[in-house]
């Protein structure tokens, strides 16, 4: 978890009406855009990858002004992020778990490729778990990468012919070969 004490909240977070979905389209569009940016910034600061619309986190609940963003509203703003390519629902239509791509997948993929090149990983095979948290990535920008993000970034690289993904018998045995 990143430090929560230094996150600076935008002005609208302190203004109660923003915690209610607005009926007027122009206002609602702006509201969604503001919340979308906040969601990305919040997740980036705290290195969060998965959000649930109904969880009890400061993002949805501002105790200072006694307001909580209703889960339906949170779902709506997350839907808009999904439409913009900055998020993915992990559970299909249930919409209880959302993968937040505060770092774009192509950027993550490029970071992996660049790491692989500088570590001379050509022709090497690694388990996904190692790639997410092993000693080789300690201190690099790949450290702590959420498995779902890692997997999708590797899928991008696979489509580019830079890696080959292997499914093991168990998820722990999923691996990747750098080409």
């Amino acid at each position: 978890m990143g430090s929560s004490s230094t996150f600076s909240w935008p002005y609208f977070y302190q203004y109660p009406p923003y915690f209610t979905r607005q009926p007027v389209k122009e206002t609602a569009d702006r509201q969604s855009s503001l919340w979308g940016s906040l969601i990305l910034a919040y997740c980036k600061h705290h290195k969060l990858y998965v959000l649930s619309p109904s969880e009890d986190i400061p993002l949805w609940v501002n105790k200072d002004i006694n307001r909580r963003l209703a889960p339906e509203a949170a779902v709506s703003f997350l839907d808009d992020l999904v439409a913009a390519g900055s998020a993915l629902w992990l559970d299909g239509g249930a919409k209880a778990r959302c993968l937040v791509l505060w770092r774009r997948l192509p950027d993550v993929a490029a970071a992996i490729a660049s790491w692989a090149a500088s570590y001379g990983m050509a022709d090497s095979v690694m388990l996904l778990d190692e790639l997410a948290a092993g000693p080789e990535v300690a201190g690099t920008e790949l450290e702590g990468l959420h498995r779902e993000v890692l997997l999708r970034a590797l899928q991008l690289l696979e489509a580019q012919g830079k890696v080959k993904l292997f499914k093991g018998a168990t998820p722990e045995e999923e691996g990747v070969k750098f080409l």
Partner: protein
Amino acid sequence: MRRRPGIAGIQRDVATREQYRSAGEEVRRASLQQMKAQLVIFKSSLEAFALQHKADIRADPVFRAQFHTMCANIGVDPLASNKGMWAELLGFGDFYYELGVQLVEACLASRQLNGGLMELGALRAAVERRRGSRSDPVSEDDIVRAVRKLKVLGGGIDIVTIGRGTYIRSVPGEFNTDKNKVMELAQAAGYISAGQLASTAGWSSQRCERVLAELLKEGMAMIDDGAPDKLRLYWFPALMPQQQQ
């Protein structure tokens, strides 16, 4: 027996009246000339004053406001024309023209936020940010003058008084007395409910709903259903305290 005016008498009266009339005109003409001479003296004194204090007038908003008052007392409007003596003398035309452009930009930039109604202090602060720290400071008085100038040019911009506050309205459409009243009543808290509005203003609930709906539609109001008692509140971004804008 009364003397009757003879023809000579009548002619004499006419001549006398004529004398008075031409004498009167002489006096008028002399007064007018005197006045014109005085005005010329005034004007050149004012010009000399303005030239001598040009730097102060540009740099100090309070001094500038006093200068305007002095001009107004003499019946001179330095902003009357962009061209001509004043514009060249002080660059006044440029100063207020530039200010007009900047304040319109500031209004436009925040229109989405406050529906086109911006508190004067907040507008001044926004304009100062645009101008940067190294330019001459501007006062609320300057903003008001620039807005008045824009109004004359038909800019669709206006000054609105709501309760104790002064706001600049930069959207077309009517800001009628009902809307003004709603915002005035909401001014202290920044919000109001339909019920509070009805009881404080003494309006029917239809009238309340209608005005609130209009303000919502124009982007000047936002709804809040998150209050502890679930009572729907209407908030007005234009009434937000300055530091939050």
